[in-house]
Amino acid sequence: MDIQEIIQPENLVYERTQCLTDATLSYCPGCGHGVIHRLTMEVIEEMGIQQDTLGVASVGCSVLAYDFMNIDMTQAPHGRATAVATGIKRCWPNKFVFTYQGDGDLAAIGTAETIHTCNRGENLLIIFVNNGIYGMTGGQMAPTTLPGMKSSTSPYGRDVELMGNPINITDMVSRLPGTYFATRQSVHKPGNVRKTKKALRMAFENQKLNKGTSIVEIVSNCNSGWKMTPAESNKWMEEHMFPFYPLGDMKVNGEMVEKK
């Protein structure tokens, strides 16, 4: 049997969700955004909520998320995605609303919006992609850049004495009363992809039940910004990012998860 005989419609086991457009992704090869987009859209398709979902793209690499996600979307000013989402959700409490933000957007310029949206318990989902760097603008130091980590504005490594410490914002907001679900995942291995999808599904289900704010952080690689091959960047992420940003649930069903 040659390959042409195998590539037949009846042998299809996996296809693009209709909640993604057929536009070519603008992300660098090896980047996690594509997988995260897909998982989010798969969950929306599986729940049958495409016509009830409104998304908010932010500023950063994912600014053009609305080109790829086949749902109604708007694009927020830098850092303001959760405020824009609040405006939508307050007017349309029965719609599903999510933001899609990077670490520069959510944890630096948008810190106030992030905290107050969670603290009010806005019934929406924040998808937070943390790669420890400003990818879109060419690899500058982010609020989440690790100590000693090199970037174009910390070319000798992040010196915390001079530049301050990285911020673990998901951990911070998990402690706010309005936050119902806070988790940190990754998409660099199949098992992690499945866990991330499960987390996104739980977040949308929470929203259906009007439970408050869900934040799903996904620690992801930026092979271009980190100046590594995709494989190297995933290894580096496991060795350096995960110790500082440990994977797992922080708050589930409104209860803090006990750390072992």
Binding site: Q50, V56, T74, P77
Partner: protein, 355 residues
């Protein structure tokens, strides 16, 4: 006749917003406009009409909540005063770029910086020339009474939706704080249909997804977008210019003043005429679009214009552009929260203009 009430300007605009069928108000406290949100909070608009009221964590968050609500076709507004309006400018630029209708109230106080909480008209440039980054204009309405504060809330929403453009009520601390009789219009229903082809309502199987954005990385497309915006501003200039003339028929000199300054100048007109000086008053009601055609016509027959503003002279530049050298144009005004008296305006008139 509608219901008569004695109200502050800030209260009147809040009441009128509910009656105009507003869907949402997002704000942040700042003097001298905090009564807007306080009045709404007391009224519990969610019980009266279902209108959303939310006190945001900042002016920045508030204008972005407006952006979110407006992107779905909802009738949303915010209010603030000068320093807070400066904070909103990024969001206002995005609203203009994404062509979203909304209403913004600025109850102007003296600046620059934290300035003072007293009235001023020093935000004219910011309001009429754009304010944030990029080429854009707001529709700018300048009320000179509590009645107009109420009426312009409704008109502002209507014009914003007609042109898919943010509208601003450019008021000041005098108009916001003073109490006057106001005749309130009847309660209008809130919008029930959201079927315009740009409104985010959720992608259904029978249509393509919709995107509300101000971004286009392709410069040829962005230029087209800019040209379309300019087209819209020209249409506003063609159709929406509003102004009032007082004693201009035989006037040899004309004062141009808006808002509270125009009220002061009405008294100056009386006093000057008692002194035998033929003075009239042109009160722009829309500051953008500006009544430049009318001023250009009047410039053919009057000896001069005096722009009277509580600023160092901002609108005077637009008067000069409209007059285009045909006659003399001067400015008089106090600043920093000081309000000129009719007598002071008369002195200014005599000093700068009357031979």
């Amino acid at each position: 006749m509608g219901e008569l009430k004695l109200m502050k300007g800030n209260e009147a605009v809040a009441e009128a917003a509910i009656r105009a069928g507003a869907d949402a108000y997002f704000g942040y406290p700042i003097t001298p406009q905090s009564e807007v949100m306080e009045y709404l909070a007391l009224q519990q608009p969610h019980k009266r009409t279902g209108m959303v009221l939310l006190q945001a964590e900042s002016e920045i968050a508030a204008i972005n909540m407006v952006y979110g609500a407006a992107s779905t076709g909802k009738r949303a507004m915010t209010s603030s005063s000068s320093p807070g309006i400066s904070l909103k400018q990024e969001g206002i630029s995005y609203l203009a770029g994404a062509e979203l209708p909304c209403l913004i109230l600025n109850v102007v106080r003296g600046g620059p910086g934290l300035g003072t909480i007293q009235p001023s008209q020093a935000d004219y440039f910011q309001s009429t020339k754009g304010g944030g980054h990029g080429d854009y204009h707001l529709i700018v309405l300048a009320p000179s009474s509590v009645q107009e504060m109420a009426d312009f809330a409704k008109l502002g929403f209507e014009l914003a939706e007609k042109y898919r453009n943010p509208a601003m009520i450019l008021s000041d601390g005098v108009i916001g704080q003073m109490m006057e009789k106001v005749e309130l219009f009847e309660q209008q229903p809130r919008k029930s249909e959201f079927n315009e082809d740009w409104m985010l309502t959720g992608k259904t199987a029978d249509r393509k997804k919709r995107v509300v954005t101000s971004l286009d990385l392709e410069p040829t497309k962005m230029e087209k977008h800019n040209l379309a915006l300019i087209e819209k501003y020209r249409a506003m200039e063609e159709n929406e210019v509003r102004y009032e003339e007082i004693a201009c028929e035989d006037a040899e000199y004309i004062m141009v003043a808006y808002g509270s300054s125009a009220r002061i100048c009405q008294k100056t007109v009386q006093m000057a005429r008692e002194d035998g000086i033929k003075v009239g008053l042109l009160r722009p009601i829309t500051l953008f679009p500006f009544p430049k055609k009318r001023i250009a016509e009047l410039a053919n027959r009057v000896k001069g214009f005096l722009s009277v503003e509580m600023s160092s002279g901002q609108m005077v530049e637009d008067v000069k552009l409209a007059v285009n050298g045909k006659t003399k144009v001067e400015h008089y005004g106090r600043m920093g929260g000081m309000i000129h008296s009719p007598e002071q305006v008369l002195c200014g008139l005599n000093e700068f203009l009357v031979d």
